[in-house]
């Protein structure tokens, strides 16, 4: 719960001795930095993990489809890796979220309706995939371009909508970036969509991790 303390920890717990302006400024900056870090549900480490997972999951699928002519779809093993890695990210995200929001109450907490919207978007996008197959869509669409990009576009846009309602502009920019990346990736074909989406998302997550780490040090 306490996380790591700064090596230049200034404070002595409960010490209310004389404080010079320089010490006060250092203490204020250090306390703000530590508090922001502890309240942040999306720390750099989590973004880094997400980047590795996205690259691993999308990369595994791409490796299984890159030589398919005509395109048939990802292998069972690649899909298993994809779901396993997605499950790892979900569990890690919940752990970080709980740690950051323990004892915090108020408007920043996710409301049940918001969670329902995102969960519905995520589930319905896969239900819709069944309709595509039922209607005779090619494997390139039903098992390629659509699953590689549509979940990211739909959930990204839904997330952006929720973020703008909260005036959470960093989250708005992040979720919209995901949707834009996925839309661009769709133009790279059924196999290329997995590769481009995976690399671009991982890069975006690395940028987020770096920016967050830099902000936290400032």
């Amino acid at each position: 719960m306490n996380g790591t303390r700064d090596t230049n920890d200034i404070t002595a717990t409960g010490d209310d001795g004389e404080l010079g302006p320089q010490e006060a400024a250092a203490l204020l900056a250090q306390t703000k930095r530590q508090a922001r870090r502890k309240f942040n549900p999306n720390p750099p480490l989590l973004s880094l993990l997400r980047a590795v997972v996205v690259l691993g999951a999308y990369g595994a699928v791409w490796l299984s489809v890159r030589d398919q002519h005509p395109y048939k779809g990802p292998s069972g093993g690649a899909i298993a890796i994809l779901y396993l890695l997605v499950a790892i990210v979900i569990v890690a995200s919940v752990v970080f979220l709980r740690r950051a929001t323990t004892g915090v109450q108020g408007p920043s907490r996710a409301r049940p309706a918001e969670i329902t919207v995102l969960a519905a978007a995520w589930i319905l996008v896969y239900v819709f995939m069944g309709a595509l197959e039922h209607a005779g869509a090619s494997h390139a669409i039903a098992y390629g371009i659509y699953p590689a990009t549509a979940p990211l576009i739909i959930v990204g846009v839904a997330g952006a909508g929720l973020a703008q309602a909260r005036a959470d502009w960093p989250m708005f920019a992040g979720t919209l970036t995901v949707a834009v990346i996925a839309t661009i990736a769709a133009y790279f074909g059924p196999a290329g969509a997995w590769l481009v989406a995976g690399i671009a998302l991982a890069a975006a997550l690395l940028v987020h991790a770096t920016a967050t780490a830099w902000r936290q040090r400032a």
């Binding site: 404080l19 302006p21 400024a25 508090a35 915090v104 920043s108």
Partner: protein, 99 residues
């Protein structure tokens, strides 16, 4: 260096840490007493004493819900508290020559 222009209520290490921690909360959020205690590393008695002083000045607001062992106290920085911390930060900058 003279420190008279610094708000004496905030210019105490423990209270400075309390106010700075609460200021880092997202807008409109409150923090449980136990989490704040955990983050600051104070005994409950010490924390209560400092919170009471801040509350008397209108810098902090606390709310208790429930009874007995199930009771929960949440704490938040008021608008006045945010302004006081901003003024304190500005005063510090002035003392340190804009550093």
């Amino acid at each position: 260096m003279p420190t008279e222009e610094l708000d004496p209520l905030i210019h105490v290490p423990t209270r400075l840490r309390i106010v700075a921690t609460l200021a880092a909360l997202p807008d409109g959020d409150t923090l449980s007493f136990t989490r704040l205690q955990d983050m600051i590393g104070l005994t409950p008695g010490n924390l209560i004493i400092h919170l009471r002083k801040l509350e008397e000045a209108g810098y902090v607001t606390s709310e208790k819900t429930g009874n007995g062992a199930a009771s929960k106290t949440t704490v938040a920085l008021t608008t006045q508290g945010h302004k006081a911390l901003d003024a304190y930060t500005e005063a510090l900058r002035g003392l340190l020559g804009g550093l």
